[in-house]
Symmetry: C2
Subunit: 333 residues, 2 copies
């Protein structure tokens, strides 16, 4: 699979350099290029730090900026950043109010962020939010909790906005835990993904196949099925999401849905918008009326073709956080 | 090639519906769903209207909003909108100051927008700007002028901003003509594109091939070459662009470059940012110092893999227009 790339070992570093150059008003490299940070910090607020493997761009570095993250640490493709990177970010962007770490629920990420939090404990107040939104990895499938996928954007936006408004570490941690039970995502792949190191596709789909329940690292999904029309695809994604919410939550007083349609990297806007329209119809036919929407390419799996739907059930206060101003490379309003 | 689609004949309509639903605060359908318009018009300003075939999303409908377009007319995939659509848009969004039409230089688009302008002449003051930025289609290649490709985003942004600031029809037309000589783009495809009607790829590239000088409708390019590393690709694109500027213009007093890296639909952010970094290095090594940058997926050819570079040489006043606030689905600051 062809990539715009010089060499696998320089792929991530050269991409991060391009990101920072393209947004040099907002972004800067941290010391030793171990992470990407806001060019200008906001003293007194909690530092919100995230990170993970490369290959999910614009997540996480593309969400660094006012109203969202203070720093993002990027590992090799599909590989956690090291504790050293994360500690360096904490040391540089914590202006005194402590650090809130946002971590997608993968063993390597959880382990390295935990190790970093322990190493930094003597110097920093630290809390961690683990994102667990993947409807494909409920308790019956995976004992270590759901994976973190595109719902991460919602968590980073809301926690980032709350931090900008002065919420303290405990309040941000509580917000993250509250969100975790109310965000579910489900993805489908139309074409697999090749990691740059070995150019081998992690899974290969035939011209008439698709795969449901895929992750964002080329993990195999739950079911390989015959390729179908968009209505059938959206219905299958939507039903999987609805089935993974606790009973009663969808009809709970005071909660309204935010709908995210996320492309995995190889899916063009014409298809993403089409999916958004069909998803709206799917949910509205079930009396689930999205109050806000986000459609685009936010959490990728390199150039995988496919998309995910995310439904987040938010309180009015959380919608206010969603609507709060944000200025990052990949999200701005 | 698999697409998120129900049926070819509903592909464009369902995608436009999703776009409008996803951005219903900004957008609305015009009468008869013939075009997409701003939900709230700005009376007294010139109406800026564009359009073209579908398959280039977010161009043009994704650029409707404050500071950019007032309406966009979309045809079938890779097919011009009809004069009827364009006239309907003029009738609905011209609030009295006339209409500025922005048209990419393709025979069908030029013909249909011209016909619409003639039909509307009794009721509307109309001027037209034809965008001609494709370095692959200089006079030696094509007698009907250069094709309009990703530079269209720059033209729509600057003319939209000028209209918002109260520029009249003659001034907007002059701005467009001024820009035409100072914007050049060049694209490369790594994978061809299949139109939904026949599912046949318009050109097929082998695993070790790429094609330079491609258009955005699956047109064959200028040269098919062996796939190479990113530095070589960027060098070839950059040299083609520089060769197509009139001698002396690159060193002209008072002009600074804007650099656009545009994905064609199937190219993920990690590769686009990498390309941006290398393009910066390429141009800066030649003493061409981009003052601003834009990187992302703006002018697509369905899900074609590949990208284009655009260099626009702008005056300080034009940079002020670039920096002016904009609120559209696909561009906002």
């Amino acid at each position: 699979m062809k990539k715009i790339m010089n060499a696998p070992e320089r792929f991530v570093a050269e991409s991060l350099e391009g990101l920072v150059l393209a947004h040099e008003g907002l972004l800067a490299f941290g010391g030793g290029r171990k992470f990407v940070r806001r060019r200008v910090l906001a003293p007194g607020k909690v530092a919100v730090i995230s990170g993970g493997g490369a290959g999910h761009e614009p997540l996480h570095s593309g969400f660094v900026g006012r109203g969202m993250l203070d720093a993002a640490c990027t590992g090799h493709v599909f590989t956690s950043p090291t504790p050293d990177q994360i500690v360096a970010a904490m040391d540089e962007v914590d202006t005194g109010a402590g650090c809130l770490l946002i971590v997608k629920n993968y063993d390597g990420d959880v382990m390295n962020f935990e190790m970093a939090a322990e190493m930094a404990a003597p110097r920093h107040a630290v809390e961690t939010v683990i994102v667990e939104d993947d409807a494909a990895t409920g308790p019956a499938v995976r004992s270590r909790g759901r994976r973190g996928v595109a719902g991460t954007v919602v968590v980073e936006k809301l926690i980032g906005a709350a931090a900008e408004q002065g919420a303290d570490l405990a309040a941000l941690k509580a917000l993250g835990e509250d969100l975790n039970g109310r965000i579910r995502s489900m993805g489908v792949a139309l074409r697999g993904v090749a990691v740059p190191d070995n150019a081998r596709e992690t899974f290969v789909l035939g011209p008439e196949e698709m795969e449901f329940g895929v992750g964002i690292h080329g993990e195999p999904g739950l079911a390989r099925t015959r390729f179908a029309d968009a209505d059938a695809i959206i219905r299958q994604l939507g039903e999987a999401i609805l089935a993974e919410f606790p009973p009663g939550l969808l009809a709970a007083e005071g909660l309204r849905p935010l709908l995210v349609v996320n492309g995995f990297g190889g899916t063009p806007p014409i298809e993403l918008y089409l999916a958004h329209g069909l998803a709206r119809r799917f949910f509205e036919a079930r009396a689930i009326m999205p109050a806000r929407a986000l459609t685009g390419t936010f959490v990728t799996s390199l150039d995988m073709a496919g998309l995910s739907l995310t439904l987040a059930l938010l309180t009015p206060d959380q919608f206010a956080l969603w609507n709060a101003p944000v200025a990052t490379p990949a999200l701005g309003w």
